[in-house]
Symmetry: C2
Subunit: 188 residues, 2 copies
Amino acid sequence: MARWEPDSRGRLVQAALVLYAERGFENTTVAEIAARAGLTERTFFRHFADKREVLFFGAAALEEFLVSAVETAPESASPIEAVTSALEAAGPLFEERRDSSRQRQQVIDANTELRERELIKLASLASALADALRRRGVADPAATLTAEAGIAVFRVAFARWVSDSDSRGLPEHIRESLGALQTVTAGR
Amino acid sequence: MARWEPDSRGRLVQAALVLYAERGFENTTVAEIAARAGLTERTFFRHFADKREVLFFGAAALEEFLVSAVETAPESASPIEAVTSALEAAGPLFEERRDSSRQRQQVIDANTELRERELIKLASLASALADALRRRGVADPAATLTAEAGIAVFRVAFARWVSDSDSRGLPEHIRESLGALQTVTAGR
């Protein structure tokens, strides 16, 4: 009979982040993650395809959220407004998880393969946002450039948010990064 | 005794691009590339570590050129000016190779692993440009955002340059893409 497993996914994520930090991503096995979470390997594989997926399973939900927010932004919103409003609106998806977001980022930054995987996920997100802008009638190259600018703003904002010790939220960092991008691009 | 091999590297690149286009990157062997170029496998491996390297060996020279151009830009140049002037100055590195640049891009676009490798090379280039800006005294996040903006401009300009049938040069496409980025980022 299957045991009742309250929030087994969350427990697996927490156990994985602790182990990746302690002994490195490459030296951690799925069996160890499951044991640490008090669960079986079989339960792990019900939630994740592999140990890398623990770090990236949120990307699909984030992409879906952002694409939908861009598509449903007011008609009057400019492309960059549609994208940055979507990013700001995604803030609450992260807000309660600043500590685990920081742990996750440290694990990724320490491993070339994971950094590459993250780059690829972000490029895929930029591409999905550009498609969403095209469905709003934004032409190229504006659609591509707006999406790339949005992702650059998001990466910088996210890095500052996880590393800053102050209490400013992710949306505030996003607005600040957008302001910085506007200043640097206008500089010619 | 070693045969004299005039431009063996160029012949290997041309042979590889033709074969990758004809039968796909994954279905082409180093032996076939060497044979098509009228050279030996040993000669191939004197120039390239593997068949993927044929597509990416230029990245190091491009990075070196751009980093040096950013570092030596006039003190009065704004960060975005330093980066886009460097990109424009790199135009002649590509200008004579529009056809092979187009062939190369088609091979990369058709293969997930190669697209990922290109993303990683461009991210490494952005990171090197941000470092060069920091050495000019540009603070963060401006250094990171300027470098990312420059790479986004370059990617869009490059894609338009290889696919456009008109005779506009790469520097002109770079200026046009920068103008488009300035327009979209100001739109809020």
